[in-house]
């Protein structure tokens, strides 16, 4: 049960057509989301993490468009306690506003967003906004929906849930954002949910998410640029750069044996307590990745990381697009450095 595949993203391309040019926000991403597992997605701002998530829900904001690729959702409908039927849904084939897509959205695939304050409308009560989602997806009346909303708030460890239900969002602190869980989704997409929170609240929310994951065997797609949170939460990690997954493996390998120069650079730019102590007195700065993420309109020949790569190979990296290489079983990387070490080279 625990390794059951819930969703597969294959060769996803989501482009934004702007007056200044085409932004290839997601440019060939393959990901697999499994029940009961957490897939972490890391990368700098603008590397396409959020757009990948929004593509999965068919919520790419205009003028963005899913240009190519497939997203398959393996839906399980629980008819009774034991019996259930599965349904294969091609999300990319559904219209963004179709009834079918809306039935999945917020029900089986839910999303938690980055800014706690901006996620709710200030003029409607917290309860009303949670109940809305419950009443939309479950056949319940207002009173039952209200009870469930209170239950959800209580589950989210909010004190006095029956009182909070009638408060307005601005009366609450940033820590309350669990409303997305209101329908026990199969897949929860968490888009930097704790970035705007303080560390103690962050820890509580992470605990809560893991608790709910155990209880409902829920899959989590956790988007962040905080590698510390990834270490704590995820089992699988995908590192994204310029709309592509450059390295993907289990969480232990990403920290112990990072292969892609970008992953290595990311890990080096985290301050380590030992280093900080060792450097005390010396005027040595924390290592950063040189350069900036390139202009989003540009299409770089070869590997998109080559202008910033410390192991840049002239004539290779800036000319040939690196293929996806499986260096070890379950550890894939998109880099020319490992071209010879591949166990099984896959053409892109």
């Amino acid at each position: 049960m625990s390794d059951q595949v819930l969703a597969e993203i294959k060769n996803l391309h989501t482009y934004f057509y702007l007056a200044e040019g085409v932004v290839r926000a997601v440019d060939g991403v393959d990901l697999t989301i499994k029940a009961g597992r957490t897939l972490g997605i890391v990368g700098e701002s603008g590397c396409g993490k959020s757009i990948t998530a929004l593509s999965l829900m068919q919520l790419v904001p205009s003028p963005g468009k899913i240009e190519e690729g497939e997203i398959t959702y393996y839906q399980t409908i629980h008819q009774t306690e034991s019996a259930s039927t599965s349904n294969v849904i091609e999300i990319t084939k559904l219209k963004p506003n179709s009834r079918e897509m809306r039935a999945i959205r917020g029900n089986q695939i839910s999303m938690v967003f980055q800014e706690p304050m901006a996620a709710m409308l200030p003029v409607r009560t917290v309860g009303a906004q949670i109940m809305e989602a419950i009443m939309l997806h479950q056949q319940v009346n207002k009173v039952e929906a209200r009870e469930r909303a209170i239950d959800i708030l209580a589950r989210a460890k909010l004190p006095n849930a029956d009182r909070i239900v009638d408060t307005y969002p601005f009366q609450l602190s940033g820590g309350m954002r669990q409303r997305a869980l209101s329908c026990n989704p199969d897949i929860l997409i968490a888009d930097e949910p704790t970035t705007a929170l303080d560390v103690t609240t962050e820890a509580q929310i992470l605990d809560l998410m893991r608790e709910l994951q155990r209880e409902y065997n829920m899959a989590i797609m956790y988007i962040t640029h905080n590698l510390g949170v990834i270490a704590e939460m995820a089992q699988e990690v995908a590192v994204m750069y310029m709309g592509k997954v450059v390295e993907q493996t289990d969480v232990a390998s990403i920290f112990r044996n990072p292969l892609h120069p970008y992953t290595q650079a990311l890990l080096r730019s985290i301050p380590q307590l030992d280093d900080v102590m060792a450097r005390a007195g010396q005027k040595k700065r924390l290592e950063t990745i040189k350069g900036m993420v390139p202009d989003p309109y540009s299409v770089l020949p070869g590997c998109s990381f080559h202008p910033r790569c410390p192991q840049f190979m002239e004539g290779v990296c800036n000319e040939v697009e690196p293929a996806v290489i499986e260096v070890e079983p379950g550890h894939i990387v998109r880099c020319h450095l490992y071209a010879s070490r591949s166990t099984k080279a896959r053409a892109n």
Partner: protein, 297 residues
């Protein structure tokens, strides 16, 4: 919240008193008062007014007393008896003059606002959602023209077209036969028949501005995260728009509801341009002057 509203209402009282004092002083400032006018009128009709008679008149109208006493007399009557005094122009109590007009004007202003909103708010929402579409550009063009054209001028054009093309008489709120009759269902229907034009006339003036406000507010709100959150819940696009961004974007428009009140009292003149036949002459002249240069091109 109730305490807050009460507090705001209580705060209005000293302001109103201050305004009434200022208005009272300003009215007294120019030379000449009701007594001099009365004397002039008597003299014009051939009656000689002696000094003693003049003094008696001055005493009768209380003009011999200091201004603050006259003010107190005036304001205390307003507060205690709702008596604003007597209008020598209309030869009726002032309160009656105000009430006669205010009822209709307020009704017209209210319906005109409702007309403005029912037209402008949906259009404003629509063009914000379809930003940079053909519809948006057309509506934007029309609203800019609408903003540039003064409301009274637009009103004149609509009246002109109504009269010349459709033969709709724009004068008066009642037909001749109902003018003097007491209230009845028939009179009410007759009122509605005559009222829709002034309502549209006044309402159209606000449409362009309201569309612009609504569009700008919607564009701000549509970018906010709660809109994506609402979509992520699985709501239909219509529910998302109406329940979330539109609910917030409508605030500046709703908060202008009370703007109904000042025109209800002070600018009854603008709606009376449609009501009083005597003014139609000036209106027609105005239309001719404005249309004449247009013919040159």
């Amino acid at each position: 919240m109730l305490a807050y509203i009460l507090q705001r209402i209580i705060r209005v009282i000293p302001q109103l008193l201050l305004i009434s004092i200022l208005a009272f002083i300003i009215i007294q400032l120019p030379p000449g008062d009701i007594v001099t006018r009365q004397i002039e009128r008597l003299q014009a009709s051939g009656v000689t007014v002696s000094e003693a008679q003049a003094q008696a008149l001055i005493r009768q109208y209380g003009m011999d007393r200091p201004m603050y006493q006259r003010y107190l007399l005036w304001i205390s009557k307003i507060i205690t008896k709702f008596d604003f005094g007597y209008s020598y122009t209309f030869e009726k109590p002032v309160a009656q003059v105000i009430m006669e007009r205010m009822g209709y004007t307020f009704a017209i202003a209210l319906f005109a606002h409702i007309f403005t909103w029912t037209v402008a708010i949906p259009i404003g929402i629509y063009v914000a959602v379809k930003q940079y579409s053909i519809t948006d550009y057309i509506v934007t063009l029309v609203t800019f023209v609408g903003l540039a054209v003064p409301a009274f001028f637009l009103a004149m054009i609509i009246m002109y077209i109504a009269l010349t093309r459709f033969g709709i008489r724009t004068g008066g709120l009642f037909s001749q036969e109902y003018m003097v009759l007491p209230w009845s269902w028939g009179k009410f229907v007759d009122l509605l028949k005559h009222m829709w034009l002034p309502i549209i006339l006044l309402g159209t003036g606000g449409v362009a501005g309201t569309i612009r406000t609504m569009r700008a507010m919607m564009l701000d709100e549509l970018r906010k995260q709660y809109v994506t959150v609402a979509r992520a819940k699985g709501l239909s696009e219509f529910s998302v728009i109406v329940r979330y961004p539109a609910r917030l974007a409508i605030n500046p428009i709703l908060s202008s509801v009370m703007w109904l009140l000042p025109p209800a009292v002070s600018s009854w003149r603008s709606s009376s341009t449609c009501k009083r036949p005597a003014r139609r002459y000036t209106l027609r002249c105005g239309i001719r002057i404005c249309i004449w240069p247009a013919r040159i091109f």
